[in-house]
């Protein structure tokens, strides 16, 4: 039986179904203005540039809702927060008025370096205190709730004293931030670390989920790799269905970042989410790893 709708923690719009805005589709989006609910953009692609990307984003933002999705906030790093980066994000937000600003539960470097990857955090009390304090600081600078995404990961630290989902649940509550639940990441990590992805989703504070990500991944034999390529597997869509049953309708975004096909192909894959958004509850065929 469907649970009664949850009251979301944040008063944010229900954007519908979107895709990530990628350079391969700039021309199509600008000339055809396709009927799509919204776009997510990689924040860093529009910082430190005054060229075409920024003009494209401004034009897209004039016609569609956009969300800024960052990869360099490095909320888990023990380096100081990059204030110059934050200032540029705030400036971009003022320019394009995103519906919300998101990033990842990860770190991207220490000692002044950036390895440009979403590195895993050891899930400890010290790390939790550290991340919560930094989220509050970022939210103060941006003047809005931050939305953070669960990562896909390939290692588990011996030092961890709690599960990833426990860390993220406590983090979101203690820092009062939103969550971007990437169901492909949940699936990838559940296979790599041998946990139940449904239990993971059930442990997420549903009222804090602002948005979902869906994507394809690559089976490397010994592990799954979060490559954002191709169509999502049915098991991943099943996870989205299950998660939406808990949260009620939320924004859904399809990510496709390798071997990117034509716009219509990506959009068609994203529109598979229609089946689960507002559709009558159907029995989910759970396929577990």
């Amino acid at each position: 039986m469907r649970a009664p709708p949850l009251k979301p923690r944040f008063d944010l719009p229900l954007l519908g179904i979107g895709i990530g805005l990628r350079t391969q589709h700039y021309g199509h989006v600008l000339s055809e203005r396709p009927a799509i609910d919204w776009f997510e953009v990689i924040t860093e692609n529009f910082l430190a540039t005054g060229g075409r990307p920024l003009r494209v984003l401004e034009e897209v933002a004039a016609h569609y809702p956009v969300v800024l999705h960052g990869v360099s906030l490095s909320i888990g790093s023990t380096d100081p927060l990059d204030r110059a980066y934050l200032a540029q994000v705030a400036e971009l937000a003022a320019r394009v008025r995103p519906q919300w600003i998101s990033d990842h539960v990860c770190w991207t470097g220490v000692a002044g370096r950036n390895v440009h990857d979403l590195l895993p955090i050891p899930y400890t009390e010290a790390a939790l205190r550290h991340v919560v304090a930094r989220i509050r600081e970022v939210q103060d600078v941006l003047g809005r709730p931050l939305v953070l995404e669960n990562p896909s990961s390939y290692v588990e630290f011996r030092e961890s004293t709690m599960s990833e989902v426990e860390f993220i649940a406590r983090m979101s509550t203690e820092a009062d931030c939103g969550l971007l639940l990437d169901v492909n990441n949940v699936f990838v990590s559940s296979r790599n670390h041998d946990f139940d992805p449904y239990a993971y989703i059930d442990a997420i504070p549903a009222e804090r989920v602002v948005q979902f990500h869906v994507a394809g991944h690559t089976d490397k034999g010994t592990h799954l790799l979060d490559t954002h390529t191709g169509c999502a597997r049915d098991e991943v869509w099943d996870l989205l269905r299950h998660a939406l049953e808990r949260t009620g309708p939320r924004a859904v975004l399809y990510e496709w970042d390798e071997d990117i096909p034509e716009f219509e192909v990506v959009h068609a894959e994203a529109l598979r989410a229609r089946e689960f958004l507002g559709a009558p509850k159907q029995e989910t065929a759970r396929v577990r790893g």
Partner: protein, 277 residues
């Protein structure tokens, strides 16, 4: 785990991820280093059902190098094409060890690449590759330069007499001038477009790279035209810039008197002037 231990753990993990990109300092094929790395990984990382701790860390290490080399290959497509895939990968690996990324944006990852090539040991055709890299860096930088509206020819025609008395044109920010020792612009064009490769022999050339209407353009210049624009870029007055052009001009003075107004007109059409002060 304390905050200090968290810092140490992140430092260890980062080193493990970037270590394969370090040349010479640690040889990844060395058995001793491999054993030490595996022992460190065992200390901090759990095995999975299918992977050892060091294999799990290796997923991040492989991705690190692949991602950053891919960025450099994209930014320096002509250098990569001329050097060859394997040689370029080795160049990129050595460069990343010397200039690891310290920025949130990958768009500046290769900003030291031309200078690094010019000063590095053991690179075949080093000076040629450095010149080609300079052209490709100018393309990237010009693409990302701040937006600025340019004076249109009609704006130039409407300038007040007091400005025209001793004009000091200010060039747009999205503009670079390159003094090169090879025909690097033509070589880049050929390598990026699969065209016929011009001579790779040394030949001094002057190249203008600029952005207009969000498109990056490139043009080779005569020495006098380069001298004129270069002087303007250094904020000389137009009169002083013309004097610089005269010094660089090898033809008859009368020719230059015809050429300068034509160049200024072309550059105005090309949107090179941000203001006339």
């Amino acid at each position: 785990m304390s905050a200090v231990e968290l810092t140490r753990l992140q430092g260890w993990f980062q080193n493990a991820v970037v270590r394969p990109s370090l040349p010479f300092a640690i040889d990844p094929t060395s058995l001793a280093d491999a054993e030490r790395g595996a022992a460190d990984a065992e200390l901090h990382v759990l095995p999975s059902r299918t992977l050892t701790p060091s294999e799990r860390v290796g997923i991040y290490a492989d991705a690190y190098l692949a991602r950053l080399v891919e960025v450099l290959t994209s930014d320096y497509a002509a250098v990569s094409a001329l050097a060859g895939c394997g040689a370029f990968h080795e160049l990129a690996r050595r460069y990343l060890a010397a200039h690891p990324s310290k920025s949130f944006t990958l768009s500046v990852l290769g900003r030291h690449f031309p200078d690094w090539i010019a000063g590095a040991d053991g690179i075949e055709r080093r000076e040629l590759l450095a010149d080609i890299a300079r052209v490709e860096l100018a393309i990237t930088r010009t693409f990302d330069a701040p937006r600025e509206s340019a004076l249109r020819p009609a704006d130039m025609a409407a300038l007040p007499p007091e400005v025209l008395a001793d004009p000091r044109p200010r060039l747009i920010a999205a503009l670079e001038l390159l003094d090169l020792r090879h025909s690097a612009n033509a070589i880049v064009r050929a390598l990026r477009n699969d065209g016929d490769l011009p001579s790779l022999d040394p030949a001094r050339t002057y190249t203008l790279v600029w952005r207009k209407d969000d498109v990056v353009w490139r043009r080779d210049l005569a020495p006098a035209a380069f001298a004129l624009l270069d002087a303007l870029a250094k904020r000389s007055s137009l009169a002083d810039a013309i004097a610089a052009a005269e010094s660089a001009h090898t033809g008859a003075a009368a020719d230059l008197a015809d050429l300068v107004p034509r160049w200024i007109g072309e550059w105005s059409e090309d949107g090179l002037f941000a203001a006339m002060e």
